[in-house]
Amino acid sequence: MADQAVATGVALPERRLASYLKSNIREYGMLLSLVAIMAFFQIVTDGTLFKPLNLTNLVLQNSYIVIMALGMLLVIVSGHIDLSVGSVAGFIGALAAVLIVRFELNFVLAMAICLLTGAAIGAAQGYFVAFFRIPAFIVTLAGMLVFKGLALAILQGQSIGPFPQSFQLLSSGFIPDQFNGTDLRLTSLFLGIIAAVALMVMDFRLRRNQFEHGMDEEPYSLFIIKNLVFAGAIIFLSYLLASYKGLPNVLVIMFVLMLLYDFGTRRTTIGRRIYALGGNEKAARLSGIKTERLTFYTFINMGVLAALAGLVFAARLNTATPKAGLGFELDVIAACFIGGASAAGGVGKVTGAVIGAFVMGVMNNGMSILGIGIDYQQVIKGLVLLAAVFVDVYNKNK
């Protein structure tokens, strides 16, 4: 019977492999889809996709979506939604421009102020959602309007820029090369190799830990293959990036945030509490979890990340425009759903959201290279979102 003990190490290797894959199919499926899409576009664009220049652009173009997806995932997992992130990002970008360019404030101080403002915005929205139980989509819809307007107001309808060099480094800067390589930015390559090795080591330790405690772990063959593939991919990508200008700063930021949030959602008490809240609020409350406060915190977190994304975006464009942030929220929400988050809450992984963001990014990038119009891209985006949610609903109703 399926409920009885799952044998560890006693069953035949092939059967274990099959059953393990089946129970983790969503995760691997997502990853495989991303790989498939990348391969597809690589072929169709005659190899342009993986050209170092293009790869760098791809990373830069999707950075703000990934950053915001991390926050949106927590909001969706807790059972809510945030439609204001695009406007908030635009507003913060405008605020940064005004502070740095017009008032010539030190850019570090200005960034700090911007992040704090983002937190305040998130707190305000979160307060109404969590404690007054006003539906999140109304509160954040109102927020979307307010901040769109405020952005227009403080920009007075114009674009403000350019930013000082130091600020631009946030988006357009690259890891400096210590080794003065001519064609290859060796520091970046080394960093990539170190990252790959570190991930492998962590995975090994995790596996050993699981084994010691008698938990079901991945079949050995799969484990080895997975690690080799990942390590190889990371090193390969680092190499490609290193042959252009090196690792973009924003990629490092993204990577660090990803690790942080992945760790937070999988291994900290506060992260798991959010999942409990999203799965069954009543049960969570009965377990002593302070559900309102938790919701409040997720919105503050979203606000900070939206602010960060706004800064990154403004730094990349080197100006703050009134149109900044238009439509971001849809991309971010779509990324989370494509990555496996459930509209009902309680389900969703950080890695999934990031993969979802990259699926969208690669599609955008690939389709642009092919010269497919933005409009078709919108349609395809919608269809992909439909497919992702459809699968989720279908599984739920089965």
């Binding site: 539906p135 307007g149 227009l152 119009g373 078709y376 395809i380 919608g382 269809l383 109703n397």
Partner: protein, 356 residues
């Protein structure tokens, strides 16, 4: 004594009437307007039709009123449709594309002709809009998606579809008969007002002279009880979404006719917000159930008047957005039970504090 009680009862009855607050809001807005711009009340008869600021407001409010009416029914069934803006763009794009901008010399006079007969273009645009609604309705009623997600999909993809139809350009429409929709006058009154009025009357008839209104309300208030009583909740839900999209399509025609162009990117932008706001202002609760069609129409008028007021004060357009958001907000707060409770506690506590 009796007259006092009578008067008190009548006043209370008036206050309790659902449309009381919307009407008051509208009157207050108009009064505010009139206080620094007395010409707002000016109505003239010029060129064979009514002319004045009020006429403008009504003309601009008509498309929003149509969408608000459609949205009212969707919200009454406990749903929401955030794709209406995209449908506006799609319908405008189809009509514009089918009509085109061909110039023809006819007896020495240059006239613009339509690529296809105008009625065909109009019907196609409306038909496609209805299909969009069918799509939404099926996702919600048959597949079981949450309405906000289901309509989010069309919201994302729809703009792309609209842009595809217009091939990324802003199509300028030159065909004169088309302008009649958004700019024409019938018996001195804007044609768009006629359309909105006809739709309102037809809807009023359909909701009150057939069982449709009763069924929609039961589905929104208690879907389980409605089902047990034999109400076919699925087909009705699909129809409601179709109607909402149809209204968005009609609004798209009016808007594009008014500005004489179809912009796939900007047409209908943020109209879903305005529509939801209009419905909420009119007294319909977002939780579904009892609804007020007249309230939603009033809500549309309020929003349009609000926009007009802000412009005439000379406040920059971005504040318009902020004010709108603030109004939504206050309305939602007042509808929130927790907030009312907190407010009551706060109000009740203060007098006690001053007494000690």
């Amino acid at each position: 004594m009796r007259t006092n009680a009578d008067a008190g009862g009548r006043v209370r009855h008036l206050l309790a009437h659902r449309l009381f607050w919307p009407v008051v809001t509208l009157v207050v807005l108009l009064a505010v307007n009139a206080s620094f711009n007395s010409s707002i009340w000016h109505l003239q008869w010029r060129d064979g039709h009514l002319y004045g600021s009020l006429v403008d407001i009504v003309n601009r409010a008509a498309p929003l009123a149509l969408i608000a009416m459609g949205m009212t029914l969707v919200i009454a069934t406990r749903g929401i449709d955030i794709s209406v803006g995209a449908v506006v763009a799609i319908s405008a794009a189809i009509a514009a594309q089918m009509i085109g901008g061909q110039l023809v010399v006819d007896n020495g006079v240059q006239t613009y002709v339509s690529r296809v007969p105008m009625p065909l273009a109009l019907i196609t645009a409306l038909g496609v809009a209805a299909l969009c609604g069918l799509w939404n309705g099926l996702l919600v009623a048959r597949v079981g998606m949450q309405p906000i997600i289901a309509t989010l999909i069309l919201m994302v993809a729809g703009r792309g579809v609209a842009q595809l139809i217009t091939e990324g350009q802003i199509i300028t429409i030159y065909y004169a008969p088309y302008f009649f929709l958004g700019n024409g006058y019938l018996l001195g009154v804007p044609f768009s007002l006629w359309i909105a009025a006809v739709v309102y009357l037809a809807l009023h008839f359909a909701l009150n002279r057939t069982a449709l209104g009763l069924f929609i309300q039961s589905i929104g208030i208690n879907p389980a009880a409605a089902r047990l009583a034999g109400v076919r909740e699925r087909p009705i839900t699909v129809c409601v979404y179709m109607f909402c999209a149809l209204m968005a399509g009609a609004a798209g025609l009016l808007i594009s006719s008014n500005v004489k162009s179809a912009d796939g990117n900007n047409a209908g932008l943020l109209m879903e917000l305005d529509a939801i706001l209009a419905v909420t202002l009119g007294g319909t609760l977002l939780t579904g159930g009892r609804f007020s069609l007249a309230g939603s129409v009033l809500g549309a008028l309020i929003i349009q008047t609000l926009t007009y007021t802000i412009y005439s004060i000379g406040v920059p357009p971005e504040v318009n957005l902020v004010v709108k958001a603030a109004v939504v907000f206050v309305v939602m707060l007042l509808q929130s039970a927790e907030f009312r409770r907190a407010l009551r506690q706060w109000v009740v506590r203060r007098p006690l504090a001053t007494r000690t």
